[in-house]
């Protein structure tokens, strides 16, 4: 090729390079960005539409409000230790057991996945106060009655409206009665740690069944309906 031809080729390469760098590259980058944005937006739109559809279906589900109440009681947002005592004593009474003693101790625990191993120590207190943490209310309970009634009491605790887990127990037959000293824990957690994604707002049949099969024992205190407050001498006998 002649020198002129080489000059044309070189000039063309320079022109194409300049056009490519100064004009084509930003156009391609911008177009690609818009295209990617469109794809993401399409996904978001699909997700939002599905979410809307799921929520519209949920509005037709009359059980949701009652399920929410049951779930709020099963693992409440605060320790609700008063209701726990009412629940425990009501379950014992329903099983014909006499409650000799109840005591409570609030503590916090962050590890939900921690193994409550058969040969390991139980959960240790933690200073983590994040909303994602599961907290525990430790309790101890002493009941007297008969062993079959005690077994019935244990069955009741497994389907009660508050999640209760016993960690230790001492059962003994004394001269004329059967006694059981139990230690256990109930759980509570502030708020929810799940994101509001489509998967987290769909309510499965399993979830509905899980909460529907729980049973409430005892009547919680409702202050506005309670009466008989105020005494002149609270040290006098009642």
């Amino acid at each position: 090729m002649s020198r002129t031809s080489w000059l044309f080729v070189a000039t063309t390469i320079v022109i194409i390079g300049v056009i490519g760098f100064l004009w084509l590259r930003p156009v391609i980058a911008s177009s690609w960005k818009t295209y990617s944005g469109t794809q993401t937006a399409k996904k978001d739109l699909t997700e939002a539409s599905k979410k809307k559809s799921v929520l519209e279906n949920l509005t037709k589900n009359n059980q949701l409000a009652s399920l929410y109440d049951i779930a709020s009681k099963y693992i409440p947002e605060s320790s609700n230790s008063g209701e726990l005592v009412i629940e425990l004593t009501a379950m014992a009474a329903q099983s014909n057991l006499l409650v000799d003693q109840v005591s409570l101790d609030d503590k916090k625990d962050t590890a939900t996945t921690k193994e409550e191993g058969t040969s390991e120590t139980t959960s240790t207190p933690s200073s983590d106060t994040s909303s994602a943490a599961n907290n525990e209310v430790n309790f101890s309970l002493k009941v007297t009655g008969t062993f079959p009634d005690f077994l019935n009491f244990l069955k009741n605790t497994e389907t009660s409206s508050r999640l209760i887990s016993f960690t230790a127990m001492t059962l003994a037959q004394e001269t004329d009665k059967f006694t059981a000293q139990l230690t256990g824990k109930a759980f509570w957690k502030k708020g929810s740690s799940l994101d509001k994604t489509l998967a987290n707002i769909e309510i499965s049949e399993d979830t509905i069944n899980k909460f529907q099969n729980l049973k409430t024992y005892g009547t919680p205190i409702n202050l506005p309906t309670e009466s008989g407050f105020g005494r002149t001498d609270p040290f006098a006998g009642y």
Binding site: S2, F8, L55, A71, K114, T118, M169, E202, T207
Partner: protein
């Protein structure tokens, strides 16, 4: 008829080079035009197709999102419900189902064995310390063997047996043996598949 080019070789070479340069120039121009056209097409595609499409989808998302805000409470409740179901599942898998454990224990007790004290603590080893009365060693060993076969218990250890002979009012001599067993918990609830062989 044959054509004979009578031009001098220098002029012929010059004409050939001129043609070649013209060809290269044309090719270069075509390349530049192609690149410029590509740029124009892309620019036009972005302005007239991609951007309006993106704007449309975004406006649709805004519309749907505005509609979703009216379901905020419902969304909170549903998320809360799933959160509690998730935690409950986690905690329930770690939880010991004592009614099942004790039911399995009492199903293993021979007729002539009486419990006097049972201590169960999942944080200590052994998890269970059982004290009771029986009539002879054979009953305790039977009980121990039965517990070994259970899906709920393991490491069953015979700790002690003490015989007390007491004469009852009827003057018949009854033999009472105090025994102690220690064992650990193997599983905390009934499993669908049996890990151990069927009793």
């Amino acid at each position: 008829m044959a054509n004979i080019n009578l031009l001098p070789p220098e002029i012929k070479l010059k004409i050939k080079r001129s043609k070649q340069s013209a060809n290269v120039f044309s090719i270069c121009m075509v390349a530049i035009i192609c690149i410029a056209t590509l740029g124009l097409i892309l620019s036009s595609l972005k302005t007239n197709l991609l951007q309006p499409n993106l704007d449309n989808i975004k406006s649709e998302i805004d519309k749907v999102s505005t509609g979703l805000s009216s379901y905020a409470t419902l969304e909170d409740e549903a998320t809360f419900l799933n959160d509690r179901a998730k935690i409950a599942k986690e905690l329930e898998t770690q939880k010991a189902y004592w009614s099942q454990i004790l039911q399995d224990l009492i199903n293993s007790v021979p007729q002539q064995v009486q419990f006097t004290n049972l201590t169960a603590d999942l944080s200590k080893t052994p998890n269970f310390i059982l004290q009771g009365n029986t009539t002879n060693e054979r009953e305790v060993i039977k009980f121990k063997e039965k517990l070994e076969k259970s899906n709920f218990f393991k490491d069953v250890a015979f700790k002690s047996a003490t015989t007390n002979e007491s004469t009852a009012a009827t003057t018949t001599t009854e033999k009472t043996m105090k025994f102690s067993l220690e064992f650990n918990l193997e599983q905390k609830q009934v499993k669908t598949s049996t890990d151990k062989e069927v009793k």
